[in-house]
Amino acid sequence: MLFPTIDFAIFFAVVFLGNWLLSPSPRRWKPFILTASYVFYAWWDWRFVLLLAVSTLISAVGGLAVAQGRTRRARRGALVMSVVGHLALLGWFKYYGFLSVTFDNALHSLGLHATPLPPLSVTLPVGISFFTFMGLSYVIDIYRRDLEPAPFLDVAVYVAFFPHLIAGPIVRGRDLLPQIARSRLRDPRKVEFPEAAYLIMGGLFKKVVISSYVSSAIVGPVFNNPTVHTAPEILLAVYGYAVQIYCDFSGYTDIAIGVALLLGFRFPQNFDRPYAARSLQDFWRRWHMTLSSWLRDYLYIPLGGNRGPRRQVARNIMITMLLGGLWHGAAWTFVAWGGIHGVGQVAGHLHRERRVAQGRAPEPTGRAALLLGRLCTFHVVCLGWLFFRADTFGTAFTLLRRLFTTWGEAAPLFRLPVVAAIVGSIALQYLPKGLAEAVQVRFAAMHAGAKAAFLGCGLLLITTLGPPGVAPFIYYKF
């Protein structure tokens, strides 16, 4: 079920009512919200509900086994079993096709024509990367004694809770499980409606209006036909994709966070004006924050993090970013995207280290340096997006080649409304952070009728400006 649909609006009205009516009784509320979440997931394909249940079982049983293990070896064994279980599901559904084709082509290049892994068409279940990472963090946190195992029903609600189920944010057990356990204490008189409405309306506008427009006006035509477009169009398409993916994904998570708020739950923030980042390190503190903190806590730091010699730190960064790329999709272009970010971060790390060794601040502080840092970071991020969006390396390199060789030729897709949409969306990232809060305070002070009129007109604006129908969110594929 997609958020910006009438189906979801009706579904949510029912769930909202049930959520608050059953709130005083956790014994009724938990089965209710779990059923609602499974219905939400089954809307896409009911057969994969079983997969969600199996993933939950692996997390719950794994967590319990880890907690009850009497020796370190037993605890570690239970952890390994659970992690392998999660990764096996993810590997089969997401990476089998990729691995089989890669393996087959490698054999072919060696002159061998065997097909030990037949290339099968395995349907990718939506949200599998997200709920797998949530399940993994739950078990690992218990192993690390950062979390106690929760009752089975709580774990089931934690994994399947529909606002985050399809495309995040990746909420940790220690953030959400206490809220589920305390669900009885949520006060139905204190729903954070202004913030939720702001997030939901903003998210809808970003997804339905901006992302859809930029996608159909420039990004789709250029990336799907790389050989016929000229440099100005390609440059605009790459900037456009930066805007499209930000509006698409942050729009989704804004709606998810807003929906959770209406139910009385607070999710962590997932985006913080990423294109205003002054370095790649800063970018990853602002972009898909729940994934970057997950990768930091469960991959980068266990690998050694910033400790050790330079080469080791560089290796840790590269491994983390390459696997982060692969998490997004089973294709070498995603690995290349991770590689670009990895190399950029290693370079940034070395630069900061050198400055510190010279007795200077790790980051330059001047205005010009800040501007230069932001410009460079944005363009490295855009270079990464080019590989992220391209279907193949051929497409990416064709676009790159044409970007430098076809200036001065006709560019019919380079139009003022597209430029305005892209520039405007990027400029919004530089607005002061307090502006959103000010809007919410104003909205909160409005009369109930004025609130309804404001929201109703907002919906009208979104449906009028948006195209007919709703395209799936980009991150559904991940």
Binding site: S121, T227, D391
Partner: protein
């Protein structure tokens, strides 16, 4: 074996809410900012009122969208709810404001409430040729070898699979100066639901705009659905549905060939067993496409069905390319053709068909 070290507290908490945060400090429960909350009941009422206002302002557009959705209970319920609201909107003149804004933004005005329940105006008229449709030519057109001075104009039309094919044609012909390629394919469209997108009407506009010599059409991805024709419900697979659908296809074939263009109607590729077009669906539609083209000297049917099948004849997402490497030729949804390898594979078959049928080299 070394016994496991116990947790710092003597009696570990059984409940996560009582667990200390990793930093050691007890995590304070979140408190909503004062003055920025609303009671749940009031929040629901405000939300419902907002939806009501939106519905009242946008009823005609929503009514139009509902009418364009596939036949079924969902559509009937939506129309039943939206018809009276749209009439009230019309009575108060609110529709003019919203339609004006829509037109200003390049969109379409909503339709008058009450008309959608009738059979679609451009639906097929019986099993024969559509009333008022142009007569098909009786002799084949002749074509000169295209050149940069006299390029061959090609128009690509269809649904989202047609868009995929268009990308392939662009890849293969986009840099050829002897071909002028235009794409007018529209996603989510087809011939089963003219209320959503009226292809005969739009095709007439495109033909008049571009005067193509060759039209490449690929439809069918969204057509396996019921529709209303002659006041009756036609269910996919029934003989009535097939008769009506073939009439709509013939209307399209006649429109193109009467304009002087040669039509290459491309069939659907083999579909994944998990898709709604699996089994005999795609072959049935392909048979209808071939039948609609038969007997017309300026219409050719191009099959790409087996082009996407494995050596055993089953659906394949990955197939070897010219050098023997496996490449992805179909999207994960099992319906669409994957760029670039799949698009190029389909487009190459179409280019071959154009060259051999028209005796030209592109």
């Amino acid at each position: 074996m070394v016994p496991e070290r116990r947790a710092p507290s003597a009696r570990p908490p059984r409940h996560p809410s009582r667990r200390r945060a990793p930093g050691g400090r007890r995590r304070a429960p979140y408190v909503a900012p004062e003055g920025r909350t609303l009671a749940a009941g009031r929040a629901l009422l405000v939300s419902l009122a907002a939806f009501g206002i939106w519905l009242a302002l946008d009823a005609r557009q929503l009514y139009t969208s509902a009418g364009a959705s596939p036949l079924g209970a969902r559509r009937s319920v939506a129309l039943a709810i939206l018809t009276p609201i749209a009439r009230v909107q019309e009575f108060f003149g609110l529709d003019r404001v919203v339609d004006g804004a829509n037109r200003a933004l390049g969109g379409r005005a909503g339709v008058t409430p009450g008309v959608i329940a009738l059979p679609p105006a451009t639906a097929g008229h019986g099993g024969g040729r559509a009333k008022g449709a142009a007569s098909p030519p009786t002799t084949a057109n002749s074509f000169l070898q295209p050149s940069a001075a006299h390029p061959l104009s090609v128009l690509d039309v269809g649904d989202s699979i047609g868009i995929d094919l268009g990308y392939g044609l662009q890849d293969l012909l986009g840099t050829t100066r002897s071909v002028e390629l235009q794409s007018a394919s529209v996603g989510n469209t087809g011939l089963a639901n003219p209320a959503y997108y009226d292809w005969p009407a739009n095709l007439s506009v495109e033909l008049a705009r571009y005067h193509p010599q060759v039209v490449v059409a690929l439809f069918g991805g969204n057509d396996w659905q019921p529709f209303i024709a002659e006041g009756r419900r036609a269910d996919p697979g029934s003989s009535f549905w097939l008769q009506q659908y073939t009439a709509r296809l013939r209307q399209m074939v006649d429109l193109v060939t009467a304009s002087g263009a040669h039509l290459f109607w491309v069939g659907l590729p083999i579909m994944s067993p998990s898709s709604g077009l699996a089994g005999s669906v795609a072959p049935s539609l392909n048979a209808a496409f071939a039948a609609a083209c038969s007997g017309n000297p300026n219409a050719s049917y191009v099959s790409i069905y087996n082009l996407f099948a494995s050596p055993t004849g089953s659906y394949a997402q990955f197939l070897p390319d010219a050098s023997g490497n496996l490449v992805e030729v179909r999207d994960a949804d099992g319906v669409h053709i994957a760029p670039p390898a799949g698009d190029d594979r389909a487009a190459a078959a179409v280019v071959r068909a154009i060259e051999s049928t028209l005796h030209i080299h592109l």
